[in-house]
Symmetry: C2
């Protein structure tokens, strides 16, 4: 995956409007003050890395990167920046797909990667508290001895703080929910340096405004998250995987609906169209039939419990036209399947030499999913672009990976953007959301306004202005 990533790093980016990247907002006096508060770097390489995410969006480096080692250091940095109206861009692992870390108004990137410690483990209560810069894989390694895990899995090894700020989710959300369902509370530093504690260790609460949820999906525009209290889940004693092939997307989507309507406990429920299967086969050297397919996983505390759900699920798949249904309890086979599924973004990019992609992220009511995927596939074909579709069908969430490379002319890129725009229009018409799990960043601002309407954006703006009156926190993201 690392090799693939390096290929991607060399690939071109789409050009957007010219930016304020070159703008100089910090002077020597400010830098001296900042250096007194935390480790910093102005090295071109470090700055470049910190303005560059995994998306197609243009990188915009910050002027300086700070590496705080405590909430107190973050607070001191923010206070200084706020006093001088210098922009602050929080940074986790840089795995964003919507330009969240572009320093569009220059300023300071606050890299929380040194905040990487487990703060408290409470296995007896199925919760823990981690620093925001700990990645999800590091959290799960640290929890290994407890028999518990944190199952939210966006694919990338993102930081917990980044996942929280973005409202991330992934393949397991159909079973365990998203970040919004699995964060019990957090520590966030507001623009003026105030340290805010939200939530509690209780599994539920009706104690006032849900400030925790307000920060989940705020994308660094309200403050910097420095600690996150996580809800944990038992590592299932028994896991079973299954695959099913279908002659049409409708049949596959019918099967997904049937699972949900029957209350089957499904841990992963991924739908791949024929093009995605092709990408998957080519990249991961597999040999799946090129047709709409479901990849399913079931888990539970006993083999009887898992078998009961698996059997019902596979009956329902068969009823909906599923064929070549295979189940497997073999762990290495399953790991290989999911590894390949997680690499599907890179596999899709590899459909073109040195490919890079616009990653769409529509989420609609499940009944609307087959129609939307089909219309998108037709659009992809008619526009003669490359765009496999796959996604978290149990949530109604899917990605069309619109691939391009250096050889593509402006016309190709325009067609690609048009397919994306059509997809989002259809998504909104179907009662869905333009971003199921990737957030808004700078990339989806216009669509957010279309989706939510002016009143909602105004309400968001009022809240932002109330908590960040000088507008220093991650400016230019979520809304203008």
């Amino acid at each position: 995956m690392r090799a693939a990533l390096q290929v991607l790093r060399r690939a071109p980016r789409l050009r957007h409007q010219s930016t304020a990247a070159a703008q100089k907002t910090v002077d020597d006096a400010f830098l001296a003050s900042l250096e007194a508060l935390a480790t910093t770097s102005q090295s071109p390489d470090v700055r470049k890395l910190h303005g560059d995410d995994e998306s197609h969006h243009e990188p915009i480096p910050p002027e300086v990167v700070a590496f705080p080692e405590s909430t107190e250091e973050v607070a001191a940095i923010l206070k200084l920046c706020n006093e001088q109206s210098i922009a602050v861009v929080p940074y986790g692992a840089g795995t964003s797909l919507e330009g969240h870390i572009q320093a569009s108004r220059g300023g300071v990137c606050v890299d929380v990667s040194k905040l990487d410690q487990m703060v408290a483990e409470h296995p007896e209560d199925l919760d823990c508290r981690v620093q925001a810069g700990m990645t999800r894989k590091a959290v799960n390694s640290a929890l290994r001895h407890t028999g518990l895990h944190f199952p939210v899995d966006p694919g990338a090894d993102a930081t917990i703080g980044g996942m929280a700020a973005c409202g991330a989710s992934g393949t397991t959300s159909v079973r365990y929910g998203t970040m919004r369902d699995n964060v019990l509370g957090l520590t966030a530093v507001l623009a003026d340096g105030t340290v805010l504690e939200t939530g509690s260790r209780a599994r539920k609460s009706s104690a006032g405004y849900d400030l925790t949820k307000l920060f989940l999906g705020s994308e660094g525009t309200l403050g910097v998250i420095t600690e996150v209290a996580l809800r944990l889940h038992p590592v299932p004693m028994c896991v079973e995987a299954a695959t099913a092939r279908f002659d049409s997307l409708e049949e596959a989507a019918d099967a997904v609906q049937a699972l949900l309507l029957h209350g089957v406990s499904v841990a992963r429920c991924e739908l791949l169209d024929a093009t995605a299967i092709d990408a998957f086969n080519a990249f991961s050297k597999r040999n799946e039939e090129s047709c709409p397919s479901l990849f399913l996983e079931f888990n539970g505390p006993t083999s009887e419990a898992v078998a009961a759900h698996t059997e019902l699920a596979l009956e329902l798949c068969a009823d909906c036209g599923g064929r070549d249904i295979k189940r497997s309890q073999d762990e290495s086979e399953r790991d290989e399947l999911w590894k390949a599924r997680h690499e599907l973004y890179y596999a899709s990019c590899a459909l073109k030499t040195n490919g890079r992609a616009i990653v769409t992220d529509a989420c609609v009511p499940v009944s609307q999913l087959p129609g939307l995927i089909q219309a998108t596939s037709r659009d992809v074909k008619e526009n003669n672009v490359v765009g496999p579709c796959f996604g978290h069908a149990g949530d109604g969430n899917f990605h069309c990976i619109l691939v391009y490379n250096d050889d593509d002319d402006e016309d190709y890129l325009e067609r690609l953007k048009q397919v994306n725009a059509n997809l989002i229009e259809r998504t909104l018409a179907a009662g869905g959301t333009c971003t199921g799990e990737h957030g808004v960043g700078s990339g989806k601002k216009a669509y957010l306004l279309r989706e939510k309407g002016a009143a909602a954006i105004d309400a968001m703006r009022s809240i932002k202005a109330a908590l960040d009156p000088r507008g220093v926190m991650n400016p230019g993201k979520v809304f203008d």
Copy 2:
């Protein structure tokens, strides 16, 4: 239950500081303008009813009650009130337990009970949209033909709008989550009459600030909720109930922890202490042994799936010292058990003639539950007051029902309040929340500040000021 309720309505209330109940804020010109917008009433009986909830808090009637029949009428009323800085108190079914509907600054009560229609049913996507004044039982009646239900069950037949505004939950939250987990979006009217649409029909989203969640638990202080989009769940094909008795609260709580740590899918998980069993027996004419007991329910799509979880759960209960373990698939027996459980509030009040109660609502990490219940029971005994304990053990949430009546002197009431205060202090020390599901209202304001700290309350106040700059929406609730 209706008879019990009438008894309670006659019972006395605790005296609080003198209120602004008699304050006159609306004049004839305002009333004429209001009458032009919606049906209104100034009848003393109607006003009295609308200032009076099911709690021990002093009733404070509004000056006038409006009965809007559409979101537009609500918007017109709020615009008028905002222009004249008249307070607005939203009202659903009046089942609040923390004084949410006290008209502490006079003004207009906006009763949404005429907004009682199903707006849209989407059984194929497991969602629906209802008007805010529809009660949860009415929603479930309307859904009966779909095979789906809305499972959040606070006991009382509250309106969906009230449940949303309060962040309610109940016996089924361990399985299905709270209102915060089951509302996909809503329509809310802001103080100035702006109609805000939040969320979408997608099952998940990372599209900007989560305004839906901000309204869940805002208790009418940010606006009036007029429509709610609900996530539905299949009515389980198979349900099994079980009861287990224990010699100590620790053993019972150990069993609950074991269920959670093993990932048992439990649909309800209620713990009753010996005093609660006594109240239960006396009120519901049952004959359970007077000892700590668990009432459990399991459900799923097939009898095999349910049996697998039930069997594991009952083994774990036995391992933890559970005895007299009984399972039952009989629906009427189960309905009777849960009816009796739901009447436990009234049963507790009936421990004293014409009893009324302070209902506590602590929620703590599950490991802290037995210690907290035991300390509270000891406190109840030492202070010689009446206070059975029971609750939603799977969530770490329990209620100590502190009962009093007309014959109790000031000293008794002071002791009662002291037990409540001690309970909340212990809850906060254990990392919990002072209100698991009843909200803050006027009753828990001081404790909210203790729980969340000044920075969090300041953040809530800033958000309130941003969305309701004149402070007309349900003043005096959540925070001062």
